[in-house]
Symmetry: C2
Subunit: 600 residues, 2 copies
């Protein structure tokens, strides 16, 4: 196996430790967080931040990619007593695109028998929530969302505009249960992916981000994809979508799932299309159904299903500047046109729900008709599909299936809020999961930025998860560096949204970093940054010496022009003169400042 | 001179030509634009875009850095007959920080006698505008803003939310005159910088961006700074601020001005502080006044003046997390505290206006108390200063001086619009010129992105010019690559703002690029991009062959999964079946699609 076993990036981030918080309802759960230590001169406790990186950043953890991660949730799932192990579907050569010999990615070395719900039950977090059960997953999520904060006697100061979101001062397990029961949040957690650490996607939780990985027919390999997954979670990806479309899809996915600490999403249609040789018209419910079971047994946590693309909507796309830009959407549209009938996804959505509920695969109802250009934003095709996604949401909820709704795309700033408002209105507050949106079409090579603007805004308005866009969007398959740039950009967007919504825990990290900045604690500034390595290396480009890490200036302004340094002088002088008191006296202009001694 | 003469980047951008549009009021003016040629298969005329790059992108132009650019406006200025040439201030060793020998940057080889207005006149665009005169500068700006569009019989379709901005269908010279007369726009155009191509900064014009360059005491040289200026304008900087603080400030600025096709801004306080050995308390009105004259004679187009920092406001900053983060603001605060009096900038603002009006130096009234962290956003100190800037605006306007107002800073998304609204309210609609704002503090190394989000939003709300932030912000002095990244990021923000405001010319480039994307015209996609080089190189990383430039797919999805390719099939099929007509028939769900043949 040695030659095939990929190596991945491990080790803690600078000055960081992985720590655990114990459950109360479920005392056996251990919820990971990251603590960032500050310099002793700060006189501050470590800063606790959300940690999506899994065991890879824990120096104590033994990482063996060919064994997979510990099966964290296996006991919780078994304890519910509503599932059974079975032999599972037989893997066929078609599942890997008939790759063979040296071109075949080896099977993952360990095989676990898949689980499914017994007796037609729904083994879903939504079913448990509706039954009033607080699962370990729900308590895990509650603890995780609080970032180590404890209940305080006084409510934390709130500062934000939440547009109807109702983030509580502290997240309780019961709150999580209620949100999941109402369909306002999901916990994507396939019972066959017990390695994943539970997380929630919902408007009343921290805004999450997704990173897409996946090979294509043109490029990339299993080792690269596993490392991209680990790399993406290291920098903060909350979920990862494997959008592979080439050969070896099945086996690559297994390697990814067995090693992923975050939920994995897929678009099963891509693999189904491979199975029929890439001919959209040859797709059938049978092939698709088979693919759903295959992936559900492997442990995929959420499926993008493009069941909202209906026959009568297709003509609405004909006058568009960029037609249909969703891969899944275009495949289904072609199928519908060719067969002159509604898609098998739409017609069999009920049966799709039956599969999903047996494994707790969440739905990400795909926006197959999302706009691919500023010109096509918010058009009739897009909104017609969104209404259908709202109808499908009700069907899924009736089956206790967890649902989120995918959104655009390319949307100029003034049309972004209408997307959020309409989604809330027609989809019963199911979580919104948007791709960007890109706010202009004219910057290929920088679409992480064109879309980061839109993502921050729509996250503020209420989108629960932001699907990242990398610099390579529209141009090529992202490599490792692109993945990191995309993730960091989207962590910025998500965090900016949390701040603007007034999330009570969000500003702690900003304030800690700003204090470090003001006090010239350079190391703390680097360590508190979303990307400590880049912050440090940029600083060191001009001031590389260790002595500069305690310097009370940087190369931007040099020592004489450092406003922060001068501010300290001002503060010292002000304190000497009791100026803090005077701040209250001399507000808003008018009275000239009179020095204390003269005032006497 | 050879060893000192810097080389700069020249040559056209891909598929681009510099073209000129003639004036009508002033038939001798030639307004440059860039035309981007499309592939013949597009069947479309070239796309015309704004061109800030000056002669450097014109292969016909002879570029000689030691001679300087042609003095475009010299004749226009002379024709007005209200200025005189005079000997000018004597350059002293202190002007260059007493650099000598090999450490002294040589003087610019050509010396022009400076001009100033005669008889206490105001030689400002505002004075002319108020007198009803449409100057060549105003017509130049009008033509430039229209991006080659001609008056159409029908009003162009408008789509946007302008928040009170009133961008006309087509900009006329008279409209420019009126906006300048009302103080709602400025044309920064010092009579001693005739090399610059006139441009306007105002809420009813295209959103502009500024790039900061400048050496510091720690690093950088003249050759680097001149190249950074040329490089910044190549990628779209509309103005450049020279924020140098080290030695050789005077001579470096001369090299920059004589070669700059865009207005140059400075913070005269920085040089004044150098002249007093970096001791803030030793600053005086005399030293500052001398510096203003020095820089006005050289041709600086706008001065940042931190006259809004008043003594009674300083105590309001004492409780801040990051104190005062404006260099100018902190210097003046320190001076005020030390001397226990209002600053010489505030007390002598009237005299400062007298200097500015003699040369047409515009004011950028500095926000010395802008917030340096999310925690300090929109606080009492910040808004108290903004109100003072409004008072100073009235003083400047009474002297026919052009004014814009600087804005923050670090501001979370939900507090951005309040900045714009308050600025409009208290500053009489003088153009707002903001630094970002940064929407979170936690991403040093990526502050072009944290701030690009805020810049796009505040640009949409009405900010007239966005001051860029580079990835090096808070960490070090930007190099050439950082300058480019900052400029492209801010071109994205400005353009996203233009789109959202509904600027009638903005979407043409997006639509042209989107059509190119849909039609697999890869070369056109690259050429229409803000950064063609990066777009092309990212594409070529995975598909380098020339044949791939006509491929109907890219490496993201490969040929089978290309939604755009499938969309073409759908469109072909739809057209065959007359589906465009059916689009009208089958709207919004309900009726199932019935194929044409069955319907008969």
């Amino acid at each position: 196996m040695t030659d095939h076993t990929p190596t991945v990036t491990t080790g803690p981030l600078p000055a960081s430790r992985r720590v655990w918080h114990r459950g109360a309802v479920h005392p056996d759960i251990r919820v990971p967080m990251r603590e960032i230590d500050l310099h002793p001169t700060a006189g501050e406790p470590p800063v606790t931040v959300y940690d999506s990186s899994g065991p890879y950043t824990d120096p104590e953890a033994e990482i063996a990619i060919d064994k997979g991660l510990p099966r964290l949730r296996a006991g919780w799932i078994a304890a519910r007593g509503d599932t059974e192990a079975y032999d599972g579907r037989h893997v066929t050569p078609a599942d890997n695109g008939f790759a063979d010999g040296a071109r075949l990615t080896p099977e993952f070395p360990v095989r676990h028998r898949p689980l499914r719900a017994t007796g037609g039950r729904a083994a879903t977090q939504m079913a448990y929530a509706r039954a009033g059960i607080v699962t370990p997953e729900m308590e895990f999520v509650a603890i995780r969302e609080n970032l180590g904060r404890q209940a305080a006697k006084e409510a934390p100061a709130r500062d934000g505009e939440a547009f109807g979101a109702e983030i509580p001062d502290l997240i309780t397990p019961e709150f999580v249960r209620d949100e999941v029961a109402r369909g306002r949040a999901i916990i994507p957690a396939n019972i066959n992916h017990p390695e994943a650490e539970p997380m929630a996607i919902g408007r009343n939780f921290l805004v999450k981000i997704n990173a897409n990985i996946g090979n294509s027919a043109v490029t990339s390999s299993m080792a690269e994809e596993v490392e991209k997954m680990v790399w993406a979670t290291r920098w903060g990806a909350d979920t990862v979508m494997d959008l592979s479309t080439g050969r070896n899809i099945h086996n690559i996915r297994d390697w990814i799932l067995r090693n992923s600490p975050v939920p994995i999403g897929t678009v099963p249609l891509y693999q189904a299309l491979e199975k029929v040789g890439g001919i959209a018209e040859d797709l059938s419910w049978e092939v698709f159904r088979d693919t759903l079971v295959e992936q559900a047994e492997q442990g995929v946590d959420y499926f993008t299903i493009h069941a909202g693309v209906r026959l009568h909507m297709i003509p609405l796309t004909v006058g568009r500047v960029t037609g249909i830009v969703s891969r899944g959407g275009s495949i289904m549209a072609k199928w519908c046109l060719h067969h002159h009938r509604e898609s098998f996804l739409y017609e069999h959505f009920d049966e799709i729900c039956d599969i999903a509920r047996a494994y707790d695969v969440s739905f990400s109802l795909g926006d197959g008709l999302r706009p691919g250009s500023i010109a096509d934003a918010n058009d009739a095709a897009q909104f017609a599909e969104l209404e259908t996604l709202g109808e499908l949401t009700q069907i899924a909820w009736a089956k206790d299936c967890q649902v989120m709704i995918e959104g655009p795309g390319h949307v100029p700033m003034h049309k972004i809020k209408a997307n959020m408002d309409k989604q809330l209105e027609v989809c019963g507050e199911a979580p919104f999961y948007t791709l960007g949106p890109l706010t202009t079409d004219i910057a290929p090579g920088y679409d992480h930025i064109t879309s980061g603007i839109g993502a921050a805004m729509i996250g503020w308005f209420g989108t629960a998860m932001l699907c990242y866009v990398t610099p390579k969007e529209h141009l090529g398959l992202p490599d490792r560096n692109d993945v990191k740039t995309g993730v960091i950009t989207y962590k910025i967007a998500a965090h900016a949204a949390d701040l603007a919504k007034g999330h009570p825990a969000a500003r702690a990290r900003d304030d800690a970093l700003s204090r470090a900045r003001f006090e010239f604690r350079w190391e703390d500034q680097f360590n508190l940054a979303l990307d400590p390595d880049t912050a440090r290396s940029m600083h060191d480009e001009t001031l590389p010496k260790e002595a500069h890490k305690v310097a009370h200036f940087c190369s931007m302004c040099g020592p004489k022009f450092c406003s922060m340094r001068i501010s300290h002088d001002i503060r010292a002088e002000a304190q000497k003169e009791g100026m803090a008191k005077m701040a209250e006296k001399f507000r808003e202009g008018g009275t000239l400042y009179v020095p204390m001694e003269d005032a006497r």
